[in-house]
């Protein structure tokens, strides 16, 4: 069990050499309540406890993103005629630039992966049931924001592959009735992907998304602290481990391993720069968006051009959107979970979503044409 060598004072601050400083801080920043709260916080202990670690992994990788992203901004130039060259500069000339860029790219992808695992673990544990609906909602929004981070960041190196993948990605908005075309033009800043698009995507990536993400992340974390971690349905109440230090230590071990993995991946499989985008060149073969969007692009390939008089592509996008919406709203339609029951329909829907995502993603890589 948790043991501390120093005696405690009321309010949670240690006595001794730092007592004066602690008292000074407490009077100006009264956080003793928070420390006291953390001391009593517990994490449910069951066979799926390790899944709680994935939220922390995503948080760590977000932090890595912020730090490496700021470092990249020192050299990156968000202009169509200089972006690619600045990436070359970062990769070839700037000391450790290649490593920072590689870590930024790898951590972005690992973060999305961690978020997907975190999302599905929460889903199957029914951790979204009352009173934690808003934790689910904010978490889902964080995943969407992360994917938007990925989408906007993909274009920034201004490579051939990213240019055409973004072109296809932004064309998707055209299927939205009435506002689709306008939305696309607003996003692109022009009729086609060009200099203004790069500037807008850069603004989105470094100025618009980060504060929104931070606010939603703050809300998400705050709600988790206020409501505590969810006990799985059927689990024995009161069976848990202290958050500090037991869970924190476990999370720390995982963080260290993830950081080590990130370093190894970034060195052994450095992120290639690719060829510079040429808007006048024909689209190259094998264009594909980032892996977490391939399920969408791949599934659209299997839909006929016309289905019941409707545009097949539009229908596909609506269907994927509807599926996502149903998934997003699960806390509000899963009445069984509210009664403390697991229903096969909810499990089945989650399984179908996973099978769909995994199959389409694999097909995009194994059988792209």
């Amino acid at each position: 069990m948790a043991t501390t060598s120093e005696p405690k004072r009321a309010g949670g601050f240690p006595e001794g050499r730092f007592a004066g400083l602690a008292a000074w801080l407490e009077s100006r920043m009264p956080l003793s309540g928070v420390l006291e709260f953390l001391r009593h916080k517990e994490v449910p202990w069951h066979k799926g406890t390790f899944l709680y670690l994935f939220g922390g992994i995503a948080l760590l990788l977000f932090g890595v993103q912020v730090v490496t992203g700021i470092l990249l901004m020192f050299y990156y130039v968000p202009a169509a005629d200089q972006a690619y060259e600045s990436i070359l500069l970062i990769s070839a000339q700037v000391p450790f630039g290649w490593l920072i860029r590689s870590i930024h790219s790898w951590s972005a992808n690992l973060m999305i992966l961690a978020l997907f695992i975190h999302l599905f673990s929460v889903y199957f544990m029914r951790a979204y049931r009352p009173p934690r609906e808003l934790i689910w909602v904010s978490g889902f929004i964080l995943l969407v924001l992360s994917m938007t981070f990925g989408f906007s960041g993909y274009l920034l190196p201004w490579t051939k592959l990213s240019y055409f993948a973004t072109k296809i990605g932004t064309d998707v908005t055209k299927v939205i009735p009435v506002v689709g075309e306008g939305m696309r033009n607003f996003l692109l800043g022009a009729n086609e992907i060009s200099g203004p698009t790069l500037t807008r995507f850069f603004a989105l990536h470094v100025a618009i998304l980060p504060p929104i993400f931070t606010i939603v992340l703050g809300l998400h974390l705050l709600l988790i602290q206020l409501l505590g971690m969810s006990q799985p349905i059927g689990g024995a109440k009161g069976k848990g481990i202290p958050f500090v230090p037991n869970f924190v230590l476990r999370e720390s071990i995982v963080w260290v391993i993830v950081l080590g993995l990130l370093a190894v991946l970034s060195v052994y499989l450095p992120w290639e720069v690719g060829e510079k985008a040429d808007p006048l060149a024909p689209a190259p073969a094998g264009i594909r968006p980032e892996w977490f969007f391939t399920f969408m692009s791949q599934s659209l390939k299997y839909i006929p051009p016309k289905v019941l008089g409707m545009e097949g592509e539009a229908l596909g996008i609506y269907a994927i959107g509807a599926g996502g919406l149903i998934f997003f709203l699960v806390p509000f339609w899963d009445g069984w979970a509210r009664q403390g029951k697991r229903h096969w329909l909810v499990t089945g829907f989650g399984a179908v979503v996973i099978v769909f995502l995994v199959t389409m993603t694999l097909l995009a890589y194994l059988k792209p044409y």
């Binding site: 069976k239 848990g240 481990i241 037991n246 071990i253 080590g260 370093a263 450095p270």
Partner: protein, 430 residues
């Protein structure tokens, strides 16, 4: 069936009338204008096979598209359904023109600048004059009707513009069009000239570019022999022919000792080494002091020219080898995820230099070849150094990655030990 045939005729007439109306609205640009009622087309379209084919082919004909019709070449009265009137000599009907008549007949319009510029201001109007200077034209004037006239290459009906991909004179099709006669041993037996030109040409780098890769600037028969004024190039004018495209090679050749020597020997310049129709892709093996180098065909072993040839060969091979190695190492570095794009880009210049060095061979001046090769060698060596440094850095990075691995294991181990201490066993729970 008959009803459908009449329907077709009616539709064709409607279409033709529309074309003629449009053409007539163009301020008389298409004079002599085609008749409003064209009984030639109406009747011949309904006729079987050979008699109907010309009218059917006219649908795509450039002349028909410009508003001309049968009467403009054959004469007659296309307004009359009475065959005797329509094809009467009084109405100017000449029937099927004889081969000897064809060039002059085409020249009636094609030699008239004022008329032709209405359709195409840049079109040449001297084809007939050029034809008269050609071997074909001269033999035709002597009564040889087997020679090519306009229709032999362009066709008679259904003539397409030369730039049309289906035209018999579209650049990639020219060789096969010429070969219709020139590869026919029986047809050419009286002329005592080879008939293997097409066979040789198809093995050439020119044919590979033009026919296989559709590089339309690559030459076919007419680019060296001329088209309307076709003639065999003289021995001392070959470099002029090849020099139309290979300008630098020509310039270096005419200043080289080979020019005077070849003239003296009356051998056809470029053709001596490169052949004429079978111009294969060049390689370093063509020069040197041992077979299969071509230099040994004329120069005796141990002679100074062969020493120069061997020296030039060595410079080319050295540079080529260096470029290949640098390219391969750059690819290896890139494959490992290293950023070497600038060095890769510089290799374009090194390759261009290699081409220049190969070109410089035509000067037969070893010093010039060495001077040219020096620039390429410098670039390739620099790129190679970049590639090797990148590969070295790649492995250095891999060696250094052991550091975060050790740190990870160490820190994770310490944290695990702390966890065990805190939990008082492998898994302490409350």
């Amino acid at each position: 069936m008959r009803a459908r045939s009449w329907m077709k005729q009616a539709l064709w007439l409607t279409g033709a009338s529309a074309v003629l109306l449009l053409a007539s609205s163009d301020a008389g640009a298409a004079a002599p204008a085609a008749p409003r009622v064209d009984t030639c087309v109406q009747c011949h379209r309904a006729l079987p096979a050979k008699l109907g084919a010309p009218a059917a082919a006219m649908a795509n004909d450039i002349h028909a598209q410009k508003g001309l019709s049968c009467v403009n070449c054959h004469g007659g009265d296309p307004a009359s359904f009475d065959i005797k009137i329509a094809k009467s000599k009084e109405k100017g009907y000449i029937g099927r023109p004889k081969p000897a008549q064809i060039p002059a007949l085409c020249d009636k319009c094609h030699g008239d600048l004022a008329f032709m510029r209405r359709f195409n201001p840049s079109i040449a109007v001297d084809q007939f004059k050029a034809y008269q200077t050609s071997v074909h034209g001269k033999r035709l004037a002597q009564g040889d009707v087997k020679v090519a006239t306009c229709a032999s290459c362009h066709g008679a009906h259904g003539i397409l513009p030369a730039a049309h991909a289906n035209s018999s004179v579209y650049a990639p099709s020219v060789a096969k069009t010429c070969a219709r006669c020139h590869s026919d041993k029986e047809y050419m037996k009286d002329y005592k000239i080879p008939t293997n030109q097409l066979e040789n040409y198809l093995q050439s780098v020119h044919a590979d570019l033009l026919i296989n890769k559709r590089e339309l600037s690559a030459p076919s028969c007419n680019d060296c022999h001329g088209n309307h004024g076709a003639f065999p190039p003289a021995v001392d004018s070959v470099s002029g022919m090849c020099g139309q495209c290979h300008v630098n090679n020509r310039d270096l050749f005419v200043k080289s000792p080979h020019k005077a020597a070849f003239e003296k020997m009356k051998v056809p310049e470029c053709v001596v080494c490169h052949s004429n129709h079978k111009v294969v892709r060049v390689s370093e093996e063509m020069i040197g002091d041992t077979r299969p180098a071509l230099c040994v065909m004329c120069h005796p072993p141990g002679s100074q020219p062969l020493k120069v040839a061997a020296g030039m060969r060595k410079r080319i091979e050295d540079l080529k080898g260096l470029i290949q190695r640098a390219t391969s190492e750059l690819d290896a570095a890139e494959h490992r995820g290293m950023e070497v794009s600038e060095a890769k880009f510089s290799m374009k210049e090194a390759r261009t230099t290699l081409i220049k060095v190969r070109t410089q061979v035509h000067s037969l001046a070893l010093k010039e070849v060495e001077k040219e090769a020096e620039g390429g060698t410098k670039i390739a060596k620099s790129a190679l150094a970049t590639a090797l440094a990148a590969i070295e850095e790649f492995y250095a990075r891999r060696r250094w990655v052991i550091l975060p691995i050790i740190l990870t294991v160490l820190m994770a181990g310490l944290l695990f030990l702390k966890l065990r201490e805190v939990e008082g066993g492998p898994r302490g729970r409350t």
